[in-house]
Amino acid sequence: MRVGVITFPGTLDDVDAARAVRYAGGEAVPLWHADRDLGGVDAVIVPGGFSYGDYLRCGAIARFAPVMQEVVDAANKGMPVLGICNGFQILCEAHLLPGALVRNAKLHFVCRDQWLRVENNRTAWSTRYEEGAEILVPLKSGEGGYQADQRTLDELEGEGRVVFRYVVDQHRPDAAGGDRNRYVGENPNGSRNDIAGITSANGRVVGLMPHPEHAIDALTGPTDDGLGMFLSLVDSVVTA
């Protein structure tokens, strides 16, 4: 199980993505933005960071890197691809995923531990979770608000292609019927429909703003809830 991890100039979370692959029992293969082939990997991760400084628009310049042409071709043939944060933005810019990510509604960069609900456990990257499960992983981004036109949103919702959703403030009864009044915060960035991550029509390409690769070990992350995504991948390629 060889998983390519792309490094663009300005990529930051490539070491973390590679570590997560290793924790899940895979082999991480470094890929460079200027590479013109994927070295025979079974899957690709486009990690977080600030590729090319994100100066024009997040992901706008990275999308044109030579390696991305290969990723688009491979994805179109069914290779699992995961875009995290800046990687999600790049996949949207490259039209592998619909929609776009815009400046957080409150205009500030937000780094916080974020509860997500798993809405779809049938993608290449989410089979290890139960549907409806809630996981806690870091979110850290300044332009994480998912936006798409209504038709696209309806299509995503209709086809069950929202994979992760931010869990927002709610009151719910606890076991004794009381109000547990759990505080988990508001939508962190103004994303439409509280969307945190989506998938392609075939469920092979997934993009999300939060960082599962920072939640693989409770020593350095809030939980190890994120590891499930990488284990799912290893499962999916083994069974495929």
């Binding site: 300005g10 979370d13 400084g53 994100d54 780094c111």
Partner: protein, 599 residues
């Protein structure tokens, strides 16, 4: 453009020069003339004036800082690989690892342009750590602001926080702690101190020096522009040729480009790994003037620099401007000729502009030419290491006794039924309220090594994934205590940072500082400074850990009012297995026993 050459300076000994506008005193200018045996050229004047500034020469603090070295015993020095005088202190933390850390201030630029000032403050300290040969691992940001409800704080605070975050987040350096303190004396003079910590294998330690005749001097990173040329613009007006266009050469604010710095970091680390760097220096405060003179001064030869080769961003820049430009994201390296191809290849891989601008020469002169004409010819030590030294007058402030006599005893004690209200008021006060508005703008997870960050007492970073060895860091300072008693205040800052590191489970091993004070020309401020240095140094002796470096920032005042004396102290600790960290907080399990240690 006519350029003031050495030959020209010899022929026009009586030409008036704007040395006062450049901040030089009469006797300092006289001393430059004496060193050179003639009047300085424009370029020389620019270089001496920036390098002999308080910020670069430590002319008012030097005599006091010596107390740190004088009191450091061999035992305290045992683990220290580099100390005061180098770009940053370095300590051996075991298992073949060395850790380097340093704090620096960027106070005034952050007041003028909060976002960019704070951003470039982070950028500068990170390059200091990089120049030691280390991979930068984390940053911290002790901050001081005017009252939370003051109108200017609304301008300054959000910009500074966004700047610290914007730059650090983009570099991929987790922010593992800092401080946010409000006090009226910081209105009009906020403090932005930035600390960076990095790690390397002991054998990879790089010191800034230029040696080996024939070795090449390479400038790499961003292009040089008119950023922060400050007072040097007064030199431009006379020499600027009208026909080249009438651009007004205003000193401009430095704007950070964190992407360029991130790439520069990776490029440098690859160069270090290939062992093709003989000496390296970051370009900070005084730009090329500082980098070339410091490299040459610390080396065993001279240096020749061809200034017209420097890649520029602005047109019509004079040699003096190029030498004193504070453009960010640049480094200067000394490279053996046979390694030049490999060096350039690494830079090309990372798309980093690299230019051979000179070479190490025999002899002991720093010679800088502009299209083959000599515009600077100086003994580099006189620029970098033998600047003026002042014994400023010191006087205990007249109001100090009254201040100390005014104890809390005169305040009413709250009645029992007022306590709850009091606690609520305190919890909601700006100096005690949650810092989340600030800390959630900082990435604390990037690179997966952060073991402790906010809201912990100390930040902790894993430096070795296989052994779990790590370091912890805390910064502290209470300016109000220090104002009451600078000696005790500095000791208390040290003790607090030491405790914060110790309670995380790490063993404190070394100290850095960022000494923020008012004007050194005020004897009362100099007294505070002297007392604080003594207190900190004596405290270090008692605890048995050395001060490995630091930074002095004077002239922090609004009009005649100095800020509270603010000697920010940073303590570094070592932990051989970060899995044994002690998180902040109590009450993980029912039935825990609460113990109070100490008196």
């Amino acid at each position: 453009m006519t350029v003031d050459t050495v030959a020209n300076a010899e022929n026009t000994p009586d030409q008036e020069q704007p040395y006062k506008e450049l901040g030089l005193k009469d006797d300092e200018y006289a001393r430059i003339k004496e060193i050179l045996g003639r009047r300085p050229t424009d370029a020389e004047l620019a270089v001496y004036s920036v390098m002999w500034s308080e910020h670069c020469s430590y002319k008012s603090s030097k005599v006091h800082l010596k107390y740190f070295s004088d009191t450091t015993t061999d035992e305290m020095r045992a683990k220290m690989l580099a100390g005061i005088g180098e770009n940053a202190g370095v300590v051996d933390v075991g298992d073949g690892w060395a850790v380097t850390f340093k704090a620096e201030s960027h106070n005034h630029p952050s007041y003028v342009e909060p976002y960019q000032g704070a951003a470039t403050g982070v950028g500068g300290i990170v390059r200091d750590i990089l120049a030691m040969g280390a991979r930068p691992l984390a940053v911290m940001d002790p901050l001081r602001f005017g009252p939370a409800d003051a109108p200017d704080t609304r301008r300054v605070l959000p910009g500074i926080v966004a700047g610290v975050g914007g730059y650090g987040n983009c570099l991929g350096l987790p922010n593992i702690g800092g401080e946010v303190v409000f006090d009226a004396t910081y209105a009009g003079n906020p403090l932005v101190n930035a600390l960076c910590v990095g790690a390397m294998r002991v054998e990879d330690l790089h010191l800034a020096h230029a040696s080996g005749t024939g070795n090449k001097v390479v400038l790499f990173g961003a292009r040089t522009g008119l950023d922060g040329i400050g007072g040097v613009s007064v030199l431009a007006s006379e020499t600027f040729d009208d026909t080249a266009g009438k651009r007004k050469k205003l000193p401009s604010v430095q704007v950070g480009d964190p992407f360029t710095e991130k790439v520069l970091i990776e490029c440098c680390l690859e160069l270090f790994a290939q062992r093709i760097v003989v000496g390296i220096q970051d370009l900070g405060g005084a730009g090329l003037a500082c980098a070339t003179s410091e490299l040459a001064s610390a080396g065993d030869g001279g240096m020749r620099v061809h200034l017209e080769r420097v890649p520029l961003r602005a047109t019509g820049m004079t040699p003096a401007e190029i030498l004193s430009s504070e453009s960010q994201e640049r480094m200067c390296a000394v490279v053996r000729p046979e390694d030049m191809d490999a060096f350039m290849a690494v830079c090309a891989k990372w798309d980093v502009i690299a230019t051979e601008i000179g070479e190490v020469t025999e002899g002991d002169r720093l010679v800088i030419t502009w299209h083959d004409e000599v515009v600077l010819d100086v003994p580099p030590r006189t620029v970098a290491h033998e600047g003026p030294v002042y014994h400023r007058p010191i006087e205990r402030p007249a109001d100090q006794d009254a201040l100390q006599a005014d104890t809390p005893d005169r305040l009413a004690r709250p009645a029992r039924d007022e306590l709850l209200e009091l606690v609520k008021t305190m919890a909601a006060s700006p100096n005690l309220a949650s810092r989340r508005w600030v800390t959630q703008q900082y990435d604390r997870y990037v690179r997966g090594g952060t073991v402790l960050a906010q809201p912990s007492d100390a930040g902790m970073i894993r430096i070795d994934e296989s052994t779990h060895r790590g370091v912890a860091l805390a910064t502290d300072c209470n300016g109000r205590y220090t104002r009451l008693d600078p000696y005790a205040g500095a000791r208390l800052a040290l003790a607090e940072a030491y405790r914060n590191v110790a309670t995380s489970g790490a063993t404190p091993v070394a100290v850095t500082n960022c000494l923020n004070f008012g004007s050194p020309e005020d004897p009362a401020v100099m007294w505070q400074f002297e007392q604080a240095v003594k207190g900190l140094a004596d405290g270090c002796v008692e605890l048995g850990i050395p001060v490995t470096g630091g930074n002095v920032s004077f002239y922090n005042q609004t009009g005649a009012t100095a800020i509270l004396p603010t000697p920010v102290v940073g303590v570094l600790g070592v932990i051989d297995d970060v899995r044994r960290r002690i998180p902040t907080g109590i009450g993980a399990e029912a039935g825990e026993t609460l113990l109070l240690l100490g008196e």
